[in-house]
Subunit: 361 residues, 2 copies
């Protein structure tokens, strides 16, 4: 009956021994105070003397006590967990390094606060909404991180309805009462890319974009159009794809085979850019002599193909950190707000150069 501190040494008898978790009651007994006192002490609430607080803390430490999140959640404290759901078909998911990096960044911040991350992969946005509903009803999460914002997105409305705090990663058009936003400046980035290509002498550019339902795809397309207009370019357009290497390759083939072939290609991700580069080579053309290539996303892949790809590089881990920080601020009762991410840097490698002189016919 004498409960010893969890030593773990008795491996012999341990077997399936569940090694009971200590509760506040145990602490209270040992410290000779009431459970409430323990609660106050451990939560840095007034109502206990420093001496008692210290004693309780020591006992708790010695016992290896940790609050049961279940009990905490039940008494109104929230679940100490945030949710992240990614709505992409499983196959598409693997290619990108984006998500894991983002998640690493998120974790760094959540770990500081001992917040858990509930993660789920689903097929589409409808399923994602269902997950939010379920999480909310089951009391599982205190807030969520929303990725891949879309044009005409049902999620912000749903989160409003549920009163679930959230951070939209990527940025939305409108604002919502308890949704913060971390905005990526796609418009500015596109302007930088187009500006640089223009400077190099390119007048005909094709943007091989991603899924057209995504908000940032839309922003990039608009920005491209605006920049084209500003520079007086007419040979500029966007083509949407599904981000896959196969579609990237197919579109590249189609575009370069057309009457007025572009001299520069801007790809919305690294995988398509690499696939596109391969197609260009396969057509007997040279990168960057005949065609310049820019990848919107930097990764090892960009330095793994030849020539090395010029890429728009952003600190995805920092992106995650920032988003998580916004969410914790929101959970602490802060007001929703919208913060910008720094502009991605254009890293010029070997895949961009002036266009061939004979262009223009």
């Amino acid at each position: 009956m004498t409960d010893s501190p969890p030593s773990g040494k008795d491996t012999q008898a341990a077997r399936r021994a569940p090694a009971r978790r200590p509760t506040m009651k145990d602490i209270a007994q040992r410290a000779g105070v009431s459970e409430s006192a323990v609660s106050f002490a451990l939560n840095d609430r007034p109502g206990v003397s420093e001496i008692t607080r210290d004693r309780v803390r020591r006992v708790a430490e010695q016992l290896g006590w940790r609050p049961s999140t279940a009990a905490r959640a039940l008494s109104g404290e929230g679940a100490a967990t945030v949710g992240l759901v990614v709505a992409r078909p499983a196959a598409t998911l693997g290619v990108d390094s984006f998500f894991l990096q983002l998640i690493s960044g998120i974790q760094e911040v959540l770990a500081e606060r001992q917040l858990g991350l509930l993660f789920q992969v689903v097929e589409d946005v409808a399923a994602e909404c269902a997950v939010y509903r379920r999480w909310w009803a089951e009391h599982r999460v205190d807030g969520v991180l929303v990725v891949d914002p879309r044009t005409d997105d049902p999620r912000p409305g749903l989160l409003d309805e549920l009163g679930l705090p959230g951070v939209v990663i990527g940025g939305l058009a409108d604002t919502h009462p308890n949704l913060s936003q971390v905005r990526a400046d796609d418009t500015g980035a596109m302007a930088a890319v187009v500006g640089r290509l223009y400077e190099l002498g390119h007048r005909s550019v094709v943007h091989i974009a991603g899924l057209d339902s995504l908000a940032h795809t839309d922003r990039r397309i608009r920005s491209l159009r605006a920049e084209a207009a500003r520079h007086g370019l007419t040979q500029v357009r966007s083509v949407t794809t599904d981000y896959s290497d196969t579609e990237g390759a197919a579109v590249t083939r189609r575009v370069l085979g057309a009457r007025a072939a572009p001299t520069a290609l801007v790809y919305d991700n690294d995988v398509m850019a690499a696939a596109g580069a391969a197609v260009v080579a396969g057509l007997g053309l040279s990168v960057p002599r005949d065609v310049s290539i820019v990848s919107w996303e930097d990764s090892v892949l960009c330095r793994m193909v030849h020539p090395w790809l010029t890429a728009l590089s952003r600190d995805t881990i920092a992106f995650g950190r920032l988003a998580a920080r916004e969410l914790t601020a929101l959970l602490d009762g802060g007001a929703a707000r919208s913060v910008p991410m720094p502009l991605p840097r254009l890293i010029e490698r070997e895949s961009t150069a002036p266009p061939p002189p004979l262009t223009g016919a």
Copy 2:
């Protein structure tokens, strides 16, 4: 005071309206029975008539009721959540597609049972152990999935001590009371690779392995040695790396620059294989004319470099599914067991061929 069903239509007044979650008490009231009856009815326990059960079910549905996981967990039912922690530095993480694929597979199975996945990224195994301890103490998870098993791994012992069910993905040497295992047949796979290379005529092979602390690295190295012995090969060895493209490239350069250069290189992941291929080309050698390359992991990357890489392909999503299924079996009270994964297939592409005839000097 009249509580209406959560319609969500009143966006006007909603604002921060938290839209109260229905509880069993609400159901009990509406159905005109006691809370206990509701509990019995909803959990398919005897003690209520079919009529009442139906009525209760309907009311619950209509109210959009979902059990609070917190409350459930508190009353001893477990947290309906499993944990997965990945111990890799953030930078290393993004490169492979392995994890997200694995997770997709895991999710498929967990989703069926409405189990949540608590995900965490940490720096090293010590931190991972701390996370397990915390999760256990906080009552957060019912079981865990352990990835990257190591030689001399502290995690199985810890899980035993905590009595936390788990599934080791990749396979361990010894068995543990409540740990199931999903074993990858690295030995067989390596045998297949070496066999094929031998068949092609290769007699000198270098295996550019991954982290030497990982159990599967060890298994592959041993298997390589065994196969070499079996075939009577003496020019065969393994070099461990950190899986990064830079180390893969560096080792490749070193190995090919040495006196007796190998004619075949086996890389433990796709990133290193691609980087290695680039180095070979940079040295003025041709793949596969001068050097054959095999990648232990298939991905878009293998079809993105030239020549396309021969690769060992396994169904990572299925791997995840299988592991998750083992875990749910364990949670259902099943006994721990050890199941094998199917042997990966060797997909021969353009990077493997007979060695140059002049070899042997």
